[in-house]
């Protein structure tokens, strides 16, 4: 995928670019707003990573210009400003996601993946499935290997989100924001407790384990590759 990073802090930009290249993406960099806007308009990128505070032209102005010239490229806004109204402003201006600095690279990567595969999520699809785990969105039932599993309402929503992003890394923050819809900073890793409860229900009595913890990043629901592979 082709990604443009518009970030004036060269170290941060270099770090993002290096990480993305290692994950197989093509990365262009711009260190001020004017160059960034020019590059975004001239080329066809799959995703834009945009710092909010930039010399020459600030992030939100770039975003507004892009959207008004009908560029629908997904944009992740990076910002040191983390308060709700700043976030709302960023999303209103046409951003697709908002990440507060400093962030772990794994968080950014997970969000890029989620944005790139956004097109694959079909909101009206009835049956979500990974291996022998099935979730029926019409009857709100969950089955594994044909056995019905009783889930609490919130566990159901977590599983639905994980299934929609099957094969992708889902971070704890993404879960908090999407499943609970609150932007806050838990003092305890409360999400882990919810995940372990869910895991007890869908994985404990079955083989193989589908819900994996990805160290330093989050969780991933997928069918493990066969032992031989």
């Amino acid at each position: 995928m082709r990604i443009l990073v518009i970030e004036d802090d060269i170290e941060t930009a270099g770090y993002i670019a290096k990480g993305l290249k290692e994950h197989g993406h093509t990365v262009d960099q711009a260190i001020d707003g004017k160059d960034g806007l020019f590059m975004a308009l001239e080329n066809d990128y799959d995703i834009l990573i945009l710092d909010r505070m930039l010399p020459a032209l600030d992030g939100l102005s770039i975003l507004k210009t892009l959207r008004s010239s009908d560029r629908q490229t997904p944009v992740i806004i990076l910002s040191a400003l983390g308060e709700v109204d700043d976030r709302v402003q960023g999303l209103k201006a046409g951003g697709d996601d908002y990440l507060v600095k400093p962030f772990a690279f794994s968080e950014l990567l997970a969000r890029i993946e989620a944005l790139l595969r956004r097109g694959e999520i079909k909101p009206d699809i009835r049956l979500l499935k990974v291996a022998d785990l099935e979730l029926d969105r019409l009857t709100h039932t969950v089955k594994r290997a044909g056995k019905t599993i009783n889930l609490q309402p919130r566990e159901y929503v977590i599983l639905e989100f994980l299934l929609q992003h099957a094969g992708q890394i889902v971070t704890r923050t993404m879960l908090l924001e999407s499943v609970w819809d609150y932007h806050f900073d838990p003092q305890t890793n409360i999400i882990d407790v919810h995940i372990s409860r869910l895991r007890n229900k869908i994985d404990r009595d079955f083989e193989p384990a589908l819900l994996q913890t990805v160290r330093g990043a989050g969780y991933c629901l997928h069918e493990p590759a066969p032992e031989s592979g």
Partner: protein
């Protein structure tokens, strides 16, 4: 309770001014009366007294005939004026004078008589009053000298009426003046108060309007505005300093973390043990978290109150927090209960309120031993989070709200010492009052909602 109007300083001022003004006017009018109407009466009495002395002397000199002559002569003088004379014998048979008979009235102790003239002889239908003095001459003749005081009375009445009218007009004018004065003062004070309230409500950019008249109110407004400019500058400084800290310290910290992450990746690739790098990353994460929390508190405290506020269903919010933390309490075998009145709505910042409630619940679960109880309740007065943990000694209840303050016994438990400070900051911008109480045993944290329609904000 005093009525609202009486509590108004300018109204009381106007009232005092009216009372003082009214009294002075009354004194002045009394003096005018004393030096006109009363003086006229005194003059009239003095004239009568002088005439009696004159007539008495004449009688002594010329006898009865002389006296009758003088009386007749005076009565025939044109114009007759308003003089009244009556000379009678001892048995009150008139001898001379223009009065038919002795008035059927007794003289007062000074010998003065006031009576109504039966036949004024002036052909007018008005009642004429007379004031006279009687005198007994030697030989037992009675002499009455008086005056028709109709004109005098009339003039006095007119003076009194004029004075009363004057007093009423003065009072009315004074009242109007006082009212206008009161309104003007009240209006200018009100404009200062309105602006102050808007500033308290978070709009620090407001300034008190000036009229440039150079009076005391204008000077006061000017001084307050300069003071507000200073406060705004200081607030901006605080904001700038924290922004600088954010930029100057947080960024290198983030870079450090990034490099550690790269190091871990490289170590993993080279099949080396990444434990050290991982530990360093989590240390850096802890630092960043503390840092973010600190900046967040500073930001909330200097933030303008009402931006991004919307109506929040407090019951639903608490339900969400409890639901999020339930598994954690369950792991410790604690009972977690929520008792919420329905339909409690308040203006607020949803994410911040959630954060504050999550911090309170997190603390309660952390410090309450296994099998303990945590009860959360909501009513129209506020939110209470009560636990059966060790509680907080009374002497330390205020200090725990300060940044980085930790109880001696909880030093070993993980945490930044910022959780409750953040709760206090969030409560502060919502106008809530935070109270820590003894739950016997345990801690009870009560967040009291601001009274409805309150104009000022309680500091937490």
């Amino acid at each position: 309770m005093q009525p609202r109007l009486l509590r108004s300083f300018s109204f009381r001022l106007a009232l005092t001014y009216m009372a003082l003004f009214g009294t002075s006017v009354l004194l002045l009018l009394w003096f005018i009366y004393w030096s006109t109407a009363a003086y006229m009466s005194r003059q009239a009495d003095a004239t009568i007294a002088a005439e009696i002395t004159g007539l008495e002397e004449r009688y002594d000199m010329d006898g009865l005939a002389g006296l009758i002559n003088v009386i007749n002569e005076r009565l025939s003088r044109k114009p007759t004026g308003s003089s009244i004379y009556l000379l009678t014998t001892a048995i009150n048979t008139p001898i001379a004078g223009n009065l038919n008979r002795w008035p059927a009235i007794r003289a007062d102790k000074d010998g003065w008589l006031s009576f109504q003239l039966e036949n004024a002889g002036l052909g007018k239908n008005k009642i004429h009053l007379a004031r006279a003095r009687s005198f007994t001459l030697s030989g037992d003749f009675h002499l009455l000298v008086g005056r028709d005081i109709y004109e005098l009375e009339e003039t006095q009445q007119r003076i009194i009426r004029t004075l009363i009218l004057g007093f009423v007009i003065t009072l009315v004018l004074g009242g109007i003046g006082g009212f206008v004065l009161n309104r003007r003062v009240a209006k200018r004070l009100e404009s200062i108060n309105t602006t102050s309230r808007e500033i308290i409500d978070g709009d620090l950019s407001r300034r008190i309007p000036r009229q440039h008249s150079g009076d005391e109110f204008d000077t006061l407004a000017g001084n307050l505005n300069v003071m507000l400019d200073r406060i705004e500058e200081l607030m901006d400084d605080v904001r700038r300093v924290s922004d600088n800290i954010a930029h100057d310290l947080r960024t290198p910290l983030a870079r450090l973390r990034n490099r550690l992450e790269l190091l871990r990746a490289e170590q993993e690739k080279a099949n080396q043990d990444p434990t050290l790098a991982e530990q360093s990353i989590s240390e850096a994460d802890g630092l960043l978290k503390t840092f973010n929390a600190l900046l967040r508190i500073a930001h909330i405290e200097t933030r303008q109150r009402t931006e991004a506020f919307c109506e929040i269903d407090m019951g639903a919010l608490l339900h969400d927090v409890v639901e999020l933390y339930e598994p954690l309490a369950e792991e410790k075998d604690q009972s977690l209960s929520l008792q919420a009145d329905t339909n409690v709505h308040r203006q607020g910042d949803r994410d911040l309120l959630f954060q504050a409630m999550a911090n309170l619940l997190d603390n309660a679960i952390k410090y309450t031993p296994a099998q303990g109880q945590i009860r959360i309740s909501l009513d129209s007065n506020g939110i209470t989070v009560a636990d059966s943990g060790p509680g907080i000694p009374e002497s330390e209840r205020l200090q725990v709200l300060q940044r980085f303050y930790r109880l001696e016994k909880s030093r070993t438990t993980p945490g930044s010492g910022l959780g409750l400070s953040l709760v206090a900051a969030v409560a502060g911008i919502h106008g809530m009052t935070l109270r820590l109480e003894d739950n016997q045993p345990g801690l009870r944290v009560h967040c009291a909602f601001p009274p409805p329609h309150s104009q000022t904000i309680g500091e937490s």
